[in-house]
């Protein structure tokens, strides 16, 4: 599996998948729907799949002396690594916004989502939606990328919309606080972690089964 992961990173990956991690810096943007940064990180991963189809990477991988299901595992490992680097960066920037930059003028009045635990929980949900819609959708055919990506775009932006709307509802203002002591925010983060782990595992298992069945 380690060798296949190296292959993913050195041969299959589009450089854009790495560059688009920098969209995590959107965490710092004031007055902007910062969850869109998570969408762009997923868009970067999508470019790798566009390239993989062009390179006929799946056939090349399936012909290597490996177990076929390890191809799927390595592809998920690559996606998880990109998402986790982005998540850790976003978490660091969130801590900065909640501490050193908490009094910064640009953040004091913000109609949009603040960088806090609620944001991090929703960021994981955006990644979970990508792994469910795009990754699982791709491995149904191992060549079709358009339809699963469009489904992810629709679901992802709906989720971002819900995230941006929630803290405007009466009684839900705490979701946007930057004090760092909100229990409800911690709950959303925990919920995001659980959903990300569970959905990614379900998606990977389903992709392994589908990949064994399809004709290349």
């Amino acid at each position: 599996m380690g060798k296949l992961l190296k292959k993913e990173m050195k041969l299959t990956a589009s450089p854009l998948s790495y560059w688009f991690i920098l969209f995590s810096f959107m965490t710092f943007l004031p007055g902007y729907p910062i969850l869109v940064g998570g969408f762009f990180v997923c868009l970067g991963i999508f470019f790798t799949y566009q390239q993989a189809v062009e390179y006929d990477d799946i056939t090349f991988s399936a012909l290597l002396p490996i177990r076929k299901k390890d191809v799927v595992k390595a592809k998920y490992a690559f996606v998880i690594i990109i998402q986790m680097i982005s998540f850790v960066l976003s978490a660091l920037f969130t801590v900065l916004r909640m501490t050193l930059l908490s009094e910064a003028k640009v953040y004091l009045v913000n109609q949009m989502m603040n960088a806090n635990l609620f944001y991090l929980g929703f960021l994981l949900l955006v990644f979970a939606v990508f792994n469910t819609c795009f990754m699982k959708g791709f491995f149904k055919t191992a060549y079709r990328i358009g339809k699963p990506f469009i489904i992810f775009c629709i679901a992802g932006f709906l989720l971002i919309g819900v995230g941006e709307m929630l803290h405007h509802l009466p009684g839900m203002e705490a979701l946007n606080s930057t004090s760092g002591t909100s229990l409800i925010q911690a709950f959303v983060l925990l919920f995001g972690i659980v959903i990300y782990v569970v959905q990614t595992l379900i998606s990977m298992n389903s992709s392994e089964r589908n990949f064994e069945k399809i004709d290349l």
Binding site: K3, K6, K7, K10, L11, E54, Y55, D56, D57, T59, F60, A62, L63, L64, P65, I66, R67, K68, K213, D215, L216
Partner: protein
């Protein structure tokens, strides 16, 4: 002598095409031409052998081992290439090799250098910068550098100019002399004249013949009233009247 590849009763049904119980065997040092028209089922058969396509029935044994049960072990000793396909088009040869070699226990750098020189391949070139003929040579280099004993090649000479085709078929003959077994699909009969020892002929998914090349020619000598060339046999078998 044990066969390197033994295919029995390979079947696969698609809505508009059926591969019907195809079977043949390839021995060490044998060059087998797998012949048929476009759409006859050559690629489906080769992909079924390699488990890229899942056959509905049949068995594949390589080096005496069942392919399905020993896939990773067997793939250590085989090479596969498709004419006209470019894996990792924008990557340099040396980068593709650096990754590919990690997977093969028997990877031999001196063999790799040997074939690189023999085929005049520049490892700093990107794959897209290679001609179709050079790409086939690169895939052969990859296979031979891990001491593949069986090469499965899908239309390796299609789209190549006559000189490159002759070069590739000469390489096949020399590799067979070293004991490498080669199964290659083609519809270009002149390639078979040059290098094939045996022929497996497939028509509309059905096996018509598998055996020695001279036997194949002999079997059509009486019905055609002369000693036919492979091209004449193919036209004799396949020609259909076009009603306009």
């Amino acid at each position: 002598m044990e066969s390197v590849l033994e295919v029995k009763g390979l079947s696969k049904k698609y809505p508009s095409f059926e591969l019907k119980s195809v079977g043949f065997h390839v021995d060490p040092g044998m060059v087998m031409g797998f012949v048929g028209r476009n759409g006859a089922g050559k690629t489906t058969t080769l992909k079924s052998i390699l488990n890229l396509v899942h056959p509905d029935a049949g068995s594949v044994r390589v080096f005496g081992l069942d392919f399905m049960e020993n896939e990773d072990v067997i793939k250590q000793q085989i090479g596969y290439a498709v004419g006209g396909v470019s894996y990792y088009n924008r990557k340099r040869i040396c980068d593709i090799v650096a990754v590919t070699k990690m997977f093969y226990e028997n990877w031999d750098d001196s063999e790799y250098k040997h074939y690189l020189n023999a085929f005049k391949l520049d490892e700093n070139k990107k794959l897209k910068e290679l001609s179709s003929g050079m790409k086939v040579k690169f895939y052969l280099t990859l296979a031979l550098s891990h001491h593949a004993k069986l090469l499965i090649l899908d239309e390796p000479t299609s789209g190549l100019d006559p000189v490159s085709r002759e070069e590739i078929t000469d390489i096949f003959t020399k590799l067979a002399q070293k004991g490498v077994a080669i199964l290659f699909s083609t519809h270009i009969t002149s390639d078979l004249d040059r290098c094939a020892d045996s022929i497996t002929y497939i028509k509309n998914g059905e096996l018509m013949f598998s055996g020695n090349k001279s036997e194949f020619i002999r079997s059509y000598t009486e019905s055609m009233g002369k000693v036919p060339s492979l091209e004449e046999i193919m036209v004799f078998i396949e020609k259909e009247e076009v009603v306009l």
